[in-house]
């Protein structure tokens, strides 16, 4: 079993425990053990770099140092914001030699790129296709996901390791392996506005409504995310967003990509926290799993 350091981040440890659970389970099925970073701290998110550049390096920097201490060479974050902060910290340390020489010893970092930072999506997408295909137990035919990557997992290109900042395909390809039929849509990496979720909810709701509409127009019957902030935004805030635009079409179920993957890998539905979703995913899952003869169902 390959060991990869795992930075759950505040969202997963707090509100989004079901993503955490699904990710660990799915990864294990695929031969990867996610080892939680010891005594990890918050990455600082947008507030960090809005306040103080050095602090915005120190917060994720400590994690990088800890991973080195744990003797692991790769760390993954399930949350796009955490992932972005980790990569950016590395980048700043690489560029700002002065800051690097001051902070690195304190944080226990030997070299800015001593550990590789990968998004959880990338970790799984890097597993050979056949290997994943061989482990799919439940075909999720009838699931038409709009794969939503969000802004921070595909940008800035060159730093994050996704193929294209406008039309990344890693998640789409994974979804196809499960038998789902991802739709071609054009808002895969459009921002959801999560950073303003608590302070300018009005803006976030408008962005949310647009994303859901675009996914629906493209023929999707659910939206799949890689990031807890995106998920919270699209799931938890969706009822509010619907009100703002007087939406009459049925709500759009949202999932984490690892939940879908876990289902397809044969992990029982009830072990995955679908009941915690705000938008009811039951009917859609009944439909999809029913179609595959209830093999993965309860």
């Amino acid at each position: 079993m390959k060991k990869i350091a795992y930075f759950p981040g505040c969202s997963l440890a707090g509100m989004d425990a079901e993503y955490d659970e699904a990710s660990r389970l799915a990864a294990r099925e695929l031969g990867i053990e996610l080892v939680e970073v010891e005594d990890w701290n918050c990455c600082g998110a947008t507030s960090g770099h809005s306040t103080d550049k050095e602090l915005s390096v120190m917060l994720p920097g400590r994690t990088l140092g800890t991973v080195e201490k744990m003797g692991l060479d790769t760390v993954t974050a399930a949350c796009a914001a955490c992932f972005s902060r980790l990569v950016t910290a590395q980048e700043i340390l690489k560029e700002d030699k002065e800051m690097a020489s001051r902070l690195m010893p304190e944080l226990g970092i030997s070299s800015p790129d001593a550990v590789k930072v990968l998004s959880l999506l990338r970790v799984i997408a890097d597993i050979p296709k056949d290997e994943i295909a061989g482990k799919i137990k439940v075909r999720l035919e009838g699931l038409k996901p709009a794969c939503y990557y969000g802004c921070l997992i595909a940008r800035p290109s060159g730093l994050v390791g996704e193929e294209h900042p406008e039309n990344p395909m890693a998640m789409d390809n994974l979804m196809s392996l499960t038998g789902a039929e991802p739709v071609r849509w054009y808002h895969k990496t459009e921002c959801c506005g999560a950073a303003l979720s608590l302070s300018r909810t009005d803006i976030v709701l408008a962005m949310n409504a647009k994303l859901i509409k675009m996914a629906r127009d493209a023929g999707a019957n659910c939206i799949v995310t890689t990031c807890p902030l995106c998920f919270t935004n699209l799931d938890l805030r969706q009822p509010q967003a619907r009100k703002v635009v007087n939406e009459t079409a049925p709500p759009m179920p949202a999932f984490y990509f690892s939940e879908i993957l876990a289902l397809a890998l044969g992990i029982p539905r009830k072990k995955l926290g679908f009941d915690k979703h705000t938008i009811d995913v039951g009917p859609l899952l009944d439909h999809v799993l029913g179609a595959s003869a209830g093999k993965g169902g309860e």
Binding site: K53, R200, R237
Partner: protein, 183 residues
């Protein structure tokens, strides 16, 4: 009277932000692609390309008092598509930090309060705690019941923890709170 004169502008500000953001600000040719693709532009008071133009002039006060600096979510759509390879996102960051440093009264108090609360919670615990953050946000922005209904729903679904997690490394907490106080 709102007339620009060279005397009213601050060219050093351009240099400062250039350095802080690592972007070549004079490279901007005002094509407007950043504004065109920005998901929040419809809510801004100053458009991303106008931010760049204002910087080229050195209109420091306009910028530090803008809503823009608080509303930009750093999604980097602008950075990805700018034909001159400039990141307005980085510029927004630098301006925001500058505003904090100079103690400018934020045009978006709720956003500024959010960042402050956020940093407060993590310096206390090393980690974020949504209940605490939401509570603080609502108290400090005088909107006590905002999002409360969401909160109850989450609580009932078992998605909210009421007790914050805290990291063990007290030294690090001290280090970051020291760093914060310096500002």
């Amino acid at each position: 009277m709102n007339i620009i004169t060279p005397e009213k502008t601050d060219k050093q500000f351009l240099e400062k932000i250039e350095k802080e953001s690592g972007q070549n600000l004079t490279a901007c040719n005002q094509c407007g692609k950043c504004t065109a693709g920005c998901p929040i532009a419809g809510f801004f008071d100053i458009m991303p390309h106008e931010v760049m133009r204002s910087l080229q002039w050195g209109l420091k006060d306009d910028l530090l008092n803008s809503h823009f600096i608080w509303l930009c979510v750093n999604c980097m759509a602008c950075r990805e598509r700018c034909p001159r390879e400039i990141s307005v996102s980085e510029v927004a960051d630098a301006l925001r930090r500058e505003a904090v440093k100079e103690g400018v009264k934020p045009a978006e108090p709720d956003v500024a309060t959010f960042h402050k609360n956020f940093m407060g919670v993590i310096t206390m615990n090393g980690r974020l705690h949504e209940v605490m953050l939401t509570a603080l946000q609502n108290v400090f922005t005088f909107k006590p019941f905002k999002d409360a209904m969401l909160g109850v729903g989450l609580f009932l679904k078992g998605r909210l923890k009421l007790l914050p997690g805290r990291i063990k490394d007290a030294g690090f907490l001290k280090l970051i709170s020291g760093r914060l106080k310096k500002n």
